[in-house]
């Protein structure tokens, strides 16, 4: 009997979820307030934006931002449910109503803008850069022409590396292999996400290396929301603006060991000026 009740409960919940998803079109903000909880999709494997700390808690730059938004909307940063998402499922989770917002290293693209709305942009994520030995004199992408550079198989920029810059790409399956090969001098540098390489440089083993070639592109990152829900979007944007004006994002950069970016500093300044 208890089993039956539980089953009925589950069905009711499923039904409720269905209606919530439907109702979401009417107004996510009302829903979130009625529920007393903001459900956010975050990364749990991507330092520094969203990852597991030593205690197994999900923390990170975007997790802090999501908690701040929850505090602004509901009065407490604990009124939040963090749902781990990956790049391949985050937009489906959002459109299906399983989460209210995405704060998971979501790059702003026109393709995605057709399906979802973006919050105000809060990070300018660097594309790939090149890690090389300190003695290296190379500083431009063009200077890597014909040189062997380690990389990772399947990276979205690999084609650009070989076809546009003429790099002889030596692409591995995993990062540890590429780092090993770089130390072995199998390649003169390692091309990878700038943020990850910056973190690597902090390790004592890598003291004699530097970011020799800076990223050639920056992609704005923003939160993702369901389309055409102006009320909710304005509320979330207001919360992000407030966090920027209070210098929170700069504090989170420090907290999560990110290099301070001019982009975030400029946004903080602009937001503070707007407020006054």
């Amino acid at each position: 009997m208890a089993g039956f009740k539980r089953m009925m409960g589950a069905s009711a919940l499923a039904l409720a979820t269905f209606f919530v998803a439907g109702a979401a079109l009417a107004g996510t903000l009302d829903n979130v307030k009625a529920r007393g909880k903001l459900i956010v999709g975050v990364k749990n494997d991507y330092v520094p934006y969203g990852y597991l700390n030593d205690k197994g808690e999900v923390v990170g730059f975007e997790v802090s931002l999501a908690k701040y938004v929850a505090k602004e909307l509901l009065g407490s940063e604990d009124k939040i449910e963090l749902v781990p998402v990956i790049a391949a499922n985050r937009i489906d989770f959002l459109t299906a109503g399983r989460i209210d917002a995405i704060f998971a290293t979501l790059g702003v693209t026109t393709e995605r803008a057709k399906v979802i709305d973006f919050t105000t942009e809060y990070v300018s994520a660097a594309g790939p850069s090149v890690l090389m030995a300190k003695e290296s004199t190379i500083s431009k992408w063009e200077e890597l022409k014909g040189k062997s550079v380690c990389g990772i198989q399947g990276s979205y920029y690999n084609k650009k590396m070989t076809e546009e810059f003429g790099i002889t790409l030596v692409a591995f399956k995993t990062q540890p292999e590429a780092y090993r090969a770089l130390k072995d001098n199998r390649c003169i540098g390692f091309v990878f996400d700038d943020m990850t390489l910056q973190q690597k440089l902090k390790e004592p083993d890598w003291a004699s290396y530097k970011i020799a070639v800076a990223p050639y592109e920056f992609q704005p990152m923003a939160g993702g929301l369901r389309k055409d829900d102006a009320e909710f979007r304005e509320a979330v944007d207001k919360a992000i603006d407030k966090a920027e004006a209070e210098g929170k994002l700069i504090a989170w950069e420090t907290e999560f060991g990110m290099p301070h970016s001019d982009y975030i500093a400029a946004r903080a300044k602009a937001a503070a000026a707007k407020k006054n």
Partner: protein
């Protein structure tokens, strides 16, 4: 029906990648197959000499290279040998670099792996040879070498051809593992193309067909060779 989209094939970069991939796969397969056959012959010949320490040495070689995954052998050759000191100084940069390139590591590991299997195949050919033939050769006055080259080797080769075909086709397919140590063969580029285009199914189907075609050429050639070499009483001979 499946909504297959092959428009990415129009991209000259992807065309070139696939071509380079096929060429490298063929190079690796040809090189390691030839070396494997050579190693197999030498090893089998070694066994017929019945020298105690040589037998033990060949046995050890076979056990080591037949019983370890070729992928592990490649990774070992690529990462571990250079760490153990197999390095040279690059005259242009003055840096200490690994002696063996990725391609060399893959070719050597595949040759040794295939060679170990081939030794066993050739040996089985020699050992299944009827004792009476060897005795007949002896009584006709053939010496050790003449007996091996003129009697044992020709018959053993014919007996072990089907087994050798199996080894060579397997070796051909195992070249796909060389992508792990960055040898730009067919699978290396296939992975990059479907990561770029998200056309996983289409790329996989194409690569599958390419492998089927290439390996079929090999097996057909081996079948022809078998038919050509057949003689009465053995294999396909009547």
């Amino acid at each position: 029906m499946l909504g297959l989209d092959y428009s990415w094939l129009a991209d000259p970069a992807y065309q070139r990648w696939l071509l380079i991939g096929v060429v490298n796969t063929l190079k690796l397969a040809a090189l390691s197959s030839s070396a494997a056959i050579l190693i197999g012959m030498l090893g089998a010949l070694g066994f017929t000499l019945r020298i105690f320490w040589l037998d033990a040495l060949i046995e050890l070689f076979v056990e080591v290279f037949r019983n370890t995954p070729p992928l592990l052998q490649m990774l070992f050759a690529y990462f571990t040998l250079s760490t153990l000191g197999l390095r040279v100084t690059d005259p242009s940069t003055g840096l200490s670099v690994p002696l063996l390139s990725a391609f060399a590591c893959a070719a050597i590991s595949l040759s040794l792996f295939g060679g170990a299997l081939a030794i066993e195949a050739f040996r089985s050919g020699i050992e299944t040879m009827p004792r009476s033939i060897v005795d007949a050769a002896r009584s006709l006055g053939y010496g050790r070498w003449a007996r091996f080259w003129r009697i044992e080797a020709p018959i053993a080769t014919r007996i072990c051809l089907p087994g050798l075909t199996n080894i060579l086709t397997n070796l051909f397919k195992t070249t796909s593992q060389a992508s792990v140590i960055t040898v730009p063969e067919l699978m290396y580029y296939a992975g990059q193309i479907y990561n770029d285009t998200f056309r996983t199914l289409e790329v996989m189907i194409l690569v599958l067909l390419i492998y089927v075609a290439l390996v079929s050429i090999l097996t057909l050639a081996m079948a022809r060779l078998e038919a050509f070499m057949a003689f009465p009483g053995y294999g396909r001979g009547l």
